[in-house]
Amino acid sequence: MHDTSPFPAPAAPPTAPAARVIGVGGAGIQTVEHLLRLGLEATACAAVHTDARRLETCALPNRLLLGGTVTRGLKAGDPEAARRLAEAEAHALRHLAEGADVVLVVAGLGGNTAAGCAPVLARVARENGALVLALGALPFDFEGRRRLAQARAALQELRTAADAVIALPTQRAAALLDEQTSLTETLQIIDDLLARGVLGLLRLLRRDGLINVDFGDLCQVVRGRQAESCLATAEAEGEQRAREVIEKLARSPLLDGGRALAEADALLVSLTGGPDLALKDVNQVMDQIHRVAEHAQVIMGALIDPALGRRLAVTVVASRHLPAPAPEPEAPPATASEPPPPRAEFPTDDFPEPSGPGRANPEPTGSARRWVPPPPELTPEQARRLLADQVAGPTGRRRRRPKPEQIALPLQVISKGRFARTEPTVYQGEDLDTPTFRRRGIPLN
């Protein structure tokens, strides 16, 4: 059942980074299947599951059954079991990620398989030299607290294993729907929402743009920040499309009703339009984005996709710094004295050569390929110091010197109108005398 053959060379032009979308677990596979229906090439997709029957019915050509000999394809009982299965077959997972510059791991983290396997897959793919984005859908409220806790734990693991993690709050998306909507329809709508986000991201990575955004830029936004990122795509058509797109984004449940934009530290905005994409559209959209996300570092791109016709699609990836993570045993290992158990299964000489067998063009065209060095020999004293450094700042492997930052003072002083000279009404740190729409970044255009 193992589909262990290496992937064929990606069909994209040699300059385009090869992306691979891997669905883990039932929900992840469902989303990837939906992506396939939306027009993604089948060679770029793969499915990983512990359930043989689900994989039988799966439309994806590249499938991997985990633990076929252990559970006989009858699913894993808990995340820990799924994780052990994934660790045992890590070489197969590595084959799945072979030859890709960007690996998107899509998983519904409420499930056992996804919660256990997704972090392992992310880690293996990253060790292979790919940039790993994990999209974890959190479970619905009705699925119970245990699954939510499990999903949160898995999300935390993914944060340490993958370059960037985007959590997709399905419950928030479902809250927007009519109560009468049937369950199948709800699931479809949410799948669609996720799939369109992924598609927007892939579009951004693959096509050559007018104003190019490549995955280097994406890395800059999402990588190494131990960040909480979110992703949303909106499309609109017609006269007022620029305005409508922004409104849709501001209302998007995936962006927390626009709040994620306002709180973002880094923002990647990609506009995709048909051949008639006008400067006016770009201007309007970027103007609004800049107004909403005042403090963020904004990277923008624009590209033409004839398939879109007269529509305008905007994909936003917003990242926010998290407070420094607490030292966890699963944090990227720096101690030679006690390497974590998963790492022990991979001898360090097993790390891939810079030219993998699946690469069409072995010359380093993209910068995502990187060789991960084996843990250095350290004395316990050095290890402790290194760990302390990691806790304080970004993870040690990608530690960057903090750039000296010059803060721009706000030029436009927000007027409080008639309350300018009264005692401010401060509630939980907010000055309520300042107009609400300004504070909440409600767009007026």
Binding site: S415, G417, F419, L432, P435, F437, L444
Partner: protein, 410 residues
């Protein structure tokens, strides 16, 4: 002289948008008859507090004169409504051990326990406005309404205390005193409003009263028939106007007019993309105003206000007990769609407050804006136990007043 004359109770509210004086007659049989009303546009008040003494005094004088004329009485003392961001409230518990041998609680014990409960720590610059008795707890059993005559060893009482900064409370008192009038009592306006619009049944079932004033928003919660929570948020209709003026780039006066004519608490689908032609001002060309933006600015402010109140109630654990719903008063209650908004935030039915059980000018006064004035009168009536009849000083004063009226008549 043998038939005790009805007593005069006057409520005075120095609000941010208007000064309102309501004159009531409190009859010995307990009936309350509203006989006069005076109003004046308020100019000296911001966020519920006086910032211009002279202007405020003038406005108070105008309102009182109008009320005197209408009721054909002379006003000597008022119940004064106060509000503002400096008001705070908390619940406090007092304890008392019953010393008597037969272990039956006496009225003196009740007095003692209330006295104990009143001994709460308070910052020096603060003054207590209200101490409202909640429930008694007898030997750990809560929910006792009247413990007198009950056997027990330990008596506790919960009080709800409303207090404010002394100097800021004195400001309106000074204004009233400068007009040679007495202040009978200070009353928190939110409490007064709730007195005007609530029935005992509402209080029993659990209700939230929100007074959406021009300068401040007061709110009061009753459950099980007792006052649970009071609060003041110094955000009101003026903020909505100010937001509109800032967002639409128009003057405050125009913003106020637009708010009243085209305002709403929701952005309905039919207002999307609609514009209003604003007539020219000072020879400026006509300017279109986007109705959708107007609504969005307004909805954002109103939503935020209700959200804050809902958050406060949730912290106090009261959000789930509003079985009788939410009652909205004040000018803000006139905003179309505000009841739906409140229903959404509090998960309970929302209505606009109706002043109940008043005689006299009831029909004229049955407006959400007058609830506070009427509530002040009702508060005054509660404070004036008529069973004893008027005291001799009051009678003397009344006689003198009549004499004076006779003296002035010719």
């Amino acid at each position: 002289m043998f038939d005790p004359a009805p007593q005069l109770v006057v409520g005075l509210e120095i609000g941010t948008s208007k000064v309102c004086a309501v004159v009531g007659e409190h009859h010995p049989n307990g009936a309350l008859h509203i006989i006069g009303l005076g109003q004046a546009r308020s100019r000296g008040v911001r966020k519920g507090e006086i910032v211009d003494n002279t202007a405020a005094a003038e406005d108070v004088r105008t309102a009182l004169a109008e009320a005197e004329q209408m009721a054909d009485v002379e006003i000597r003392s008022v119940y004064l409504g106060v509000t503002g961001a400096h008001l705070q409230s908390f619940n406090h518990c007092g304890r008392h051990t019953i010393p008597s041998h037969d272990r039956v609680i006496t009225p003196e014990d009740v007095q003692d326990v209330v006295g104990n409960a009143r001994a709460f720590p308070l910052a020096q610059d603060r003054h207590v406005i209200h101490v409202v008795r909640q429930h008694f707890i007898v030997d750990g059993q809560p929910g006792v309404l009247d413990p007198v005559g009950m056997p027990g060893t330990r008596l506790e009482v919960d009080l709800h205390v409303v207090h404010g900064i002394t100097t800021r409370l004195q400001r309106p008192i000074c204004v009233v005193k400068s007009l040679q009038l007495e202040v009978e009592n200070l009353v928190f306006t939110g409490l007064a409003t709730s007195l005007a619009v609530l029935t005992p049944q509402d209080k029993q079932r659990g209700v939230l009263v929100i007074d959406l004033g021009a300068g401040v928003t007061d709110y009061v919660v009753y459950t099980d028939g007792i006052l649970r929570h009071t609060g003041t948020l110094a955000v009101g209709g003026d903020h909505v106007t100010n937001d509109l003026a800032c967002g639409l780039n128009i003057s405050q006066g125009r913003a106020e007019a637009l708010k009243c004519t085209h305002g709403g608490a929701a952005v309905e689908p039919e207002v999307r993309g609609r514009t209003l032609a604003l007539p020219s001002e000072h020879g400026l060309p006509e300017r279109p105003i986007n109705l959708e933006h107007l609504r969005r600015i307004m909805a954002a402010r109103l939503e935020e206000t209700l959200e804050i109140i809902a958050g406060e109630l949730e912290d106090a654990g009261l959000l789930a007990s509003l079985h009788a719903g939410v009652v909205l008063c004040g000018g803000g209650a006139r905003v179309p769609g505000i009841t739906d908004l409140a229903r959404r935030f509090f998960g309970a039915p929302a209505t606009i407050g109706r002043t109940c059980a008043f005689n006299g000018l009831a029909a004229t006064l049955d407006q959400p804006e007058f609830a506070t004035g009427l509530g002040l009168v009702r508060f005054g009536a509660f404070q004036n136990p008529t069973a004893r009849g008027p005291r001799w000083t009051a009678r003397l004063r009344q006689t003198l007043g009549q004499l004076k009226a006779v003296w002035r008549a010719p």
